[in-house]
């Protein structure tokens, strides 16, 4: 069993115990119910006890529009939502798209209408906006601001990949998108093959970084193509990221897993907060080359 989680980091501080999820073994079907089982998080918003999706970056108008994707490597089924507003857990809605509809992606008002239809509570936009997000939005209204650069590695997408005891593989990715993006801008996150991909035969990837660059090279699918051709999770991830940088000038990071439980957390941005749980060990890091490790056994 393996579970790898990648989250956005605040500032540039090394992750402390409070920033890292403790992840007891669990069956894959409970993957998205993790939220109630982990201690309160301040940075891993997909899994926090408070309203998730909270902390999302704001679009140019100061509104929150969220994207998410989930994919089942066994059947290749997937669910995605793009530019959805006023809900706490976009990844949960994406899962419902996959499980309760014959579609793979719902967008904007259609996604909200579906959320109402399946009883997902509407939350106020204010409850999703943090002071930090508002501060970054204000700064990026300046004409000479560079939202892509200022966001890299700091207020990014969250995602996870997992392999369970039966060998089933899955991925999930969720985001508020790019700082000060145009209204209705959709990045890589809800686009299958870009924000994530999962296939029991090959592995799973969840991506983060410069969304438009990730889309142009369909980064998740690209990394899995390399793995299909025999490359290891680390080599395939590095090759994919290097290609994205050289071909379209974009930086990013990925968490990757293969059916044997091989895993990698690779990035060419300055930082990416990540954590991985396998057997009885928890591994985590923030800056390039970091890999801390501790026991998962409760004392």
């Amino acid at each position: 069993f393996f579970f790898s989680l990648r989250c956005k980091a605040e500032g540039g501080h090394a992750p402390s115990q409070r920033h890292v999820a403790l992840l007891p073994p669990f069956p894959l079907r409970d993957f998205l119910c993790l939220r109630s089982q982990v201690p309160k998080m301040t940075t891993i918003y997909v899994f926090s006890n408070v309203v998730s999706g909270r902390g999302s970056v704001l679009n140019v108008k100061g509104d929150v529009e969220m994207d998410a994707l989930v994919m089942d490597g066994k059947t290749l089924a997937s669910g995605a939502v793009s530019a959805v507003r006023n809900i706490a857990n976009p990844v949960q809605l994406a899962r419902l798209v996959m499980d309760k509809t014959s579609h793979a992606c719902l967008t904007a008002e259609g996604a909200s209408k579906f959320a109402r239809a399946v009883g997902i509570p509407e939350v106020s936009q204010e409850s999703l906006i943090t002071e930090y997000a508002r501060m970054r939005w204000t700064k990026n209204l300046a004409p000479d601001a560079n939202p892509v650069e200022s966001q890299m590695g700091k207020m990014g997408t969250v995602g996870a990949v997992a392999v369970d005891r039966e060998g089933n593989i899955a991925c999930a990715t969720s985001t508020g998108g790019m700082l000060n993006k145009m209204e209705g801008r959709v990045g890589d996150t809800p686009c299958i093959g870009s924000g994530g991909y999962a296939d029991n035969q090959t592995g799973a990837v969840s991506t983060t970084g410069h969304g438009e660059a990730i889309m142009k090279v369909t980064l998740a699918r690209l990394i899995l193509f390399h793995m299909e051709q025999g490359q290891t999770v680390e080599a395939a991830s590095d090759v994919g990221l290097a290609y994205m940088k050289s071909r379209v000038g974009g930086l990013g990071g990925v968490v990757t897993v293969d059916p044997q439980g091989g895993w990698g957390a690779r990035f060419n941005s300055l930082q990416m907060a990540w954590a991985a749980a396998q057997d009885d060990r928890l591994h985590y890091g923030l800056y390039a080359g970091e890999r801390f490790s501790e026991s998962l056994q409760t004392p």
Binding site: L76, S78, S82, C105, E183, G184, G193, Y197, E212
Partner: protein, 302 residues
């Protein structure tokens, strides 16, 4: 160096009453795109011109003639991609415009983004001075009647598609005289789709993909299946592995059929001018123009 354009008007069980008009439509679109190439125009301009023509043609499910969602509205998706730079533009669930492929082009050329959706896409259209077209002008009598007929059915997409009621997508791929490839795809989606349903068409790597190093692809068929296997990118990956455009297409469509039980079609062009039009549905209207040849077909799948 020869220039090539291939277009498709959708892979599905095209009913006899639409067959001739579909074939005429793709042939005209191929000629239109080819005249752009012959005049030294870019692959991007050629695919946009070809797809615009099919969007304007009410026989196809794109722009004018688009299918209706479960609320009786038209929501349009489109993508365009430049094989030289991998630049891409896409719109999903955009309303009341005649040519989504051109709006997708504007997203690519005029913004730093790749994809815009919903009311954000419409606001962008307005800021670009794109004319608003009333829904009634986009919807044909034929579509309105078919939609009324099927409104009472509770059918999943797969049942609809396999029951041959679904309309489909248009697309084009081209290779120009400077060796650049491009693709474009445009659709109204699936009849009676849920509001906001996004299929494969505007999703990069699924509805289309273009890379000067390997080729350009536009896909059509069962959207959710195409997404599951990222069909366009899959075809490209086979070409990268050395397969012919024809083998790459067939292998990929076969895989989609076996792995996720979906049918569809693809058009592909390689940087060396090889091209293929392949489908696993009963029919697909397609046409290709290369140098002075013009061939078009509407026959059973092989």
């Amino acid at each position: 160096m020869s220039a090539v354009i291939v277009v498709h008007g959708g892979a599905w069980a095209i009913p006899d009453e639409l067959a001739q008009a579909s074939v005429d439509g793709v042939k005209s679109a191929a000629c239109q795109g080819f005249s752009v190439l012959k005049g030294g125009g870019s692959a991007l301009d050629a695919v946009e011109a070809a797809v615009r023509m099919m969007e304007d043609n009410t026989v196809f499910n794109a722009g004018h003639g688009a299918t209706l969602n479960n609320n009786g509205d038209v929501e349009l998706d489109a993508i365009i991609m430049d094989g030289k730079t991998l630049a891409c533009g896409a719109v999903s669930s955009v309303k009341n415009i005649a040519n989504p492929v051109s709006l997708a082009r504007a997203v690519m050329d005029k913004t730093s983004h790749v994809m815009l959706t919903g009311s954000g896409a419409n606001q962008f259209a307005e800021s670009m001075g794109v004319e608003t077209v009333p829904t009634d002008a986009l919807v044909t009598e034929y579509e309105r009647k078919e939609w009324e007929k099927h409104k009472t059915y509770v059918n999943g997409v797969m049942e609809d598609f396999n029951a041959q009621w679904a309309h489909d997508t248009v697309g084009a791929v081209a290779l120009d005289c400077t060796g650049n490839v491009a693709c474009a795809t445009s659709t109204g989606g699936i009849r009676n789709k849920k509001i906001g349903r996004v299929g494969d068409s505007p999703v990069i790597g699924s509805g289309g993909y273009a890379d000067n190093f390997s080729g350009a692809v536009s896909c059509t068929g069962h959207g959710e299946s195409i997404l599951k296997v990222t069909l366009a990118r899959l075809i490209v990956s086979h070409i990268e592995q050395g397969k012919s455009v024809s083998d790459a297409s067939q292998l990929s469509l076969q895989y989609m059929g076996e792995r996720v039980h979906g049918a569809g079609g693809s058009i592909v062009v390689s940087p060396s001018g090889q091209w293929a039009a392949t489908f696993t549905t009963e029919r697909m209207a397609w046409a290709a123009a290369q140098q002075d040849e013009l061939c078009g077909k509407n026959t059973s799948a092989t």
